[in-house]
Symmetry: C2
Subunit: 224 residues, 2 copies
Amino acid sequence: MKNSEIYAISILSDDCQGVLRDVSDVMASHGVNIVLAQASVFPAESEKKTSFIYFEFENVDNIESLSSDLLRLEKIHSVKTYQPLSKIFGKRVIIIGGGAQVAQVALGAVNEADRHNIRGERISVDTIPLVGEKDLAATIDAVCRLPRVSVLVLAGSLMGGSISDSVENVRSAGIPVISLKMAGSVPEHADLIVTDPIQAGVFAVMQSSSLAVFNIDRVRGHEF
Amino acid sequence: MKNSEIYAISILSDDCQGVLRDVSDVMASHGVNIVLAQASVFPAESEKKTSFIYFEFENVDNIESLSSDLLRLEKIHSVKTYQPLSKIFGKRVIIIGGGAQVAQVALGAVNEADRHNIRGERISVDTIPLVGEKDLAATIDAVCRLPRVSVLVLAGSLMGGSISDSVENVRSAGIPVISLKMAGSVPEHADLIVTDPIQAGVFAVMQSSSLAVFNIDRVRGHEF
């Protein structure tokens, strides 16, 4: 029976094109699904470069057999296993907006995440302070392309226009959106409006938690 | 001449194994280096699933020709282009430690990042509050496997033992480490020791900035 657990490995190989193709070929032959691959090359200034490629994958029948087949590839030097990033950094609360308010939401979120992580969960709080409708819209849209996002919090005083379109994209991707009470059309598109930034951060972490009893579906459209 | 600019695309395809192999085969034939691939499947409960795969790559001669060849693959429905995540979320300051202190470092870092991002840079501030030597050591070690990390800040009051080993791993990966002044051996391994958590966050963002005049190499071993 296929294993839906996520495995993580890194591979060191000679820097050559096609390593990802060769590795994904081996993985495909084992019926494995790659969910993440990150490649970097070092050192930057040397002629002979080494590739460090990190993979996460699922549907593994036999991890030892897979590792052996990978090591048989001519260009692969070593294979190392890890816990997947989802088990280490867990779900991510993303906070975007003006610096002062992002910092206050983060204050609430980090303190609430601490209470959950102490009890064995893993919740991260990730932020970027930005200004300007165009930059905010593009950045909020890009949240859909980040891994492991559970909630987005918009922390500002005036957001609307194309930012609201991006908010709808994020919600369509299955990520709920909490907005501070603010001017502009964004709050009308959010799942929840919160006045106190500390509480907004707390709500966001509670929503991310698999153990908490809070469910944003039950307060959708409410304002606190 | 090969283009070292990073491109980003997403691909929608039928959910089938081997899509990543087929795509990386096309990319290899164009001499392209894939640096990131993230795959997800939706919707979860339907029989007919769609794969959403996001790629970032470099060494592209002709992006239109590459996109055409990708669309020719039988299972690919669409190809969409984006700005890469490095241009949107930029460099990352990572803050790990006890909740109250992580929140204070984040306060300083987010406010400083706001000042930089207003002037066109992109710096993110990403945090996870945690407790316990074993969990902290594993999480700090995993920072080496996150993309785009520029600085690590350790925010606590007592850290040592295996956490210091992980600090050395992070530094070996080229990521400088700032530590709050605290008990335990970790500060001895850090590049910089800072007493005020707000200032620690500010220093971290200044180090991440390509425009700031601060360079941690010039204050290595100092205590503030």
